[in-house]
């Protein structure tokens, strides 16, 4: 494993680095720039940075207005407020008119830790995925985040990008043949017995789980599904056909996120067991990030248990 960096930091630095190259880029924040890491852009391009105060609904609408005038706007706040508080502004002012606004939600998932349930957004994929025209992207590590930011800058349309708070191991830069393309899952490890499709920081855990299971002689394919919508049906279908069972893993409620998207696709195209790993329809709680993740089973061990369940269902 190489560099350990939070995806939010990789995001913030990349945005600032690319600011020069994208003169129409404008960045908005709702009084959290030190946390969302839009601070790097703010410092480099103060004339293109707007601090909109603690008013996420307005920030989202202002971004839409800027986009109608040819700007590409990135809004920044916590995932909870970006997709929850301002849900309807995202739907009606951004996605419906199909404006070039990127909704960036930092501190996604339970790994927010100590702040507790009110700030642990585990519904963002679900909320954003149900809106027509929306793309939903959730990179797993710093190197992938850098590629995602660049790709989103080149994508003309509405999208949601989730960032994580915790520093995470970088793995994608060490996978031979790894490439990043919006809407295309990345195969990180081939396998024949079962496929684990993961997103965000669960990708690293899925990779670790696959290594552990290999020692038992179980061959696990690992797919990094950084783009949850549009879902890469091709790679999912191939996994269903070749490994005949699938586990999904996400730092998100198991309702209507990656697991649901995969299950919907598989049930319609190639029904095989799909076992969802994530948060079981309950709120998070305060605690150190690692402790919270463990309490909710968001660990490599948690994935291994789901893999065993899937293998049983397959038989």
């Amino acid at each position: 494993m190489s560099e350990k960096i939070a995806t939010r930091v990789a995001y913030g630095k990349t945005l600032a680095e690319l600011g020069e190259q994208y003169p129409n880029l404008v960045v908005l924040d709702a009084d959290l720039s030190g946390s969302t890491q839009s601070q790097f852009f703010a410092k480099a391009f103060p004339e293109r940075f707007y601090n909109m105060g603690i008013a996420e609904a307005n920030m989202t609408g202002v971004a839409a207005g800027l986009a109608t005038c040819g700007k590409q706007a990135f809004t920044n706040t916590f995932a909870m407020f970006a997709t929850g508080r301002a849900y309807e502004q995202v739907r009606n002012s951004v996605a419906y008119p199909r404006l070039n606004v990127k909704i960036v939600g930092s501190h996604g998932g339970l790994s927010v830790g100590e702040d507790g349930a009110t700030h642990q957004c585990i519904e963002d994929y679900a909320l954003m995925r149900t809106i027509p025209n929306m793309m939903v992207v959730s990179p797993c590590d710093g190197p992938e985040m850098r590629l995602a930011v660049k790709a989103l800058l080149d994508y003309d349309g509405p999208a949601y990008l989730r960032l994580g708070r915790l520093a995470v191991d970088s793995i994608t830069d060490e996978i031979p043949g790894y490439t990043f393309q919006l809407g295309k899952g990345s195969l990180l490890r081939d396998g024949t017995d079962v496929t684990v499709i993961a997103t965000g920081m669960m990708v690293q855990m899925a990779y670790a789980a696959a290594q552990t299971l290999a020692e038992e002689g179980i061959s696990v394919r690992v797919i990094d599904m950084h783009t949850i919508k549009p879902l890469d049906g091709e790679i999912v279908l191939k996994a269903a056909l070749e490994t005949r069972c699938i586990v999904t893993s996400e730092e998100h409620t198991i309702l209507n996120g990656l697991g649901s998207a995969v299950a919907e696709f598989v049930s319609e195209h190639c029904p095989v067991p799909v076992v969802r790993h994530g948060v079981n329809d309950e709120f998070g709680r305060s605690g150190a990030a690692k402790a919270v993740l463990e309490a909710y089973g968001l660990t490599p061990q948690g994935i291994i248990e789901k893999v065993r369940q899937a293998l049983k269902l397959k038989k």
């Binding site: 707007y50 307005n58 005038c69 002012s93």
Partner: protein, 281 residues
């Protein structure tokens, strides 16, 4: 204002009222009350105040209009049609699955519409974004947005108001159509919002009271708004909901209801008579 210009504006507004009533009757749905109250405001914006060209509806240098009270398309669409953005004939398919004229304002299907709106409180934020872009790009276009006095109960309006003042958006002019009524009754009963002038002043806006049916007064108010530097302006336009139709005026029941055939005949006759009188027929 010259008499000939005043007369032309009055004719346009009267004609648009006839078209609005036809649209809502044909569609058997739509928001007639607040459209009739805003008709002079929208008429003047597109015929004398705003720098727009129907042949170049996406000209980056044009003035913008955001119908924040997005349900009042029966005011906006007829004015756009009469201005030449699309054929008047298209109004017949208002709210129809066969046409493109959606119930609430839609920017991708309806030529001349600058922002999709409908969910109250959101349009003014988009207008702030447009005004910010104008400042950033050092363009001299102006941005206008029309809100309802019920709409301003939405918290987002005040978030937007704060941000417009922060960025000194003197290229932004909001108009509140103060007709005093909303769906469930009088705004004073549903959710008292007065004093609106003191509220906007406290948010660091330039506030102008104006009779929303008086073209001369409106023209002066828009000129004063354009002359005001460093802060956004709001026109508090006093209007009558349902203006122009005797039995609709001041009755909140006509907020979002279409007239039946009998009511339509009566309303249509009144509006056509008003137009004919202006045209000297």
């Amino acid at each position: 204002m010259e008499q000939s210009k005043l007369h032309a504006l009055a004719v346009t507004a009267a004609h648009a009222r006839v078209l609005a009533m036809d649209m809502v009757h044909d569609a058997a749905s739509g928001h007639i009350g607040g459209s009739l109250s805003a008709m002079e405001i929208v008429t003047l914006l597109y015929n004398g105040v705003m720098r727009v060209n129907p042949a170049a509806p996406r000209d980056p240098d044009r003035d913008r209009f955001v119908l924040s009270k997005g349900h009042c398309t029966p005011a906006l669409y007829p004015i756009l049609a009469l201005k030449g953005y699309f054929p008047v004939e298209n109004l017949k398919l208002f709210r129809s699955i066969k046409g493109d004229l959606s119930g609430h304002a839609e920017m991708n299907c309806v030529k001349g519409v600058d922002m999709s709106t409908g969910s109250l409180g959101q349009g003014i934020s988009a207008a702030v974004g447009m005004a910010l872009a104008g400042k950033a790009d050092k363009k001299d276009y102006r941005v206008y947005t029309l809100l309802g006095d019920g709409e301003i109960e939405e918290g987002q309006v005040w978030e937007a108001a704060m941000s417009a003042a922060k960025y000194h958006l003197d290229n932004l002019c909001a108009i509140v159509d103060v007709n005093g009524l909303q769906i469930d009754g009088a705004t004073a009963d549903v959710m008292p919002s007065e004093p609106l002038d003191k509220k906007f002043e406290a948010f660091n806006w330039n506030v102008i009271h104006v009779d929303g049916h008086d073209f001369n007064a409106l023209e002066e108010a828009f000129a004063a708004a354009a002359a005001c530097k460093d802060k956004p302006t709001v026109l508090l336009a006093k209007t009558i909901k349902g203006k122009g139709v005797s039995f609709m005026e001041g009755d909140y029941g006509w907020h979002g209801k279409a007239p039946n055939d009998e009511q339509y005949e009566k309303a249509h006759a009144e509006l056509v008579a008003a137009l004919a009188e202006l045209e000297g027929k």
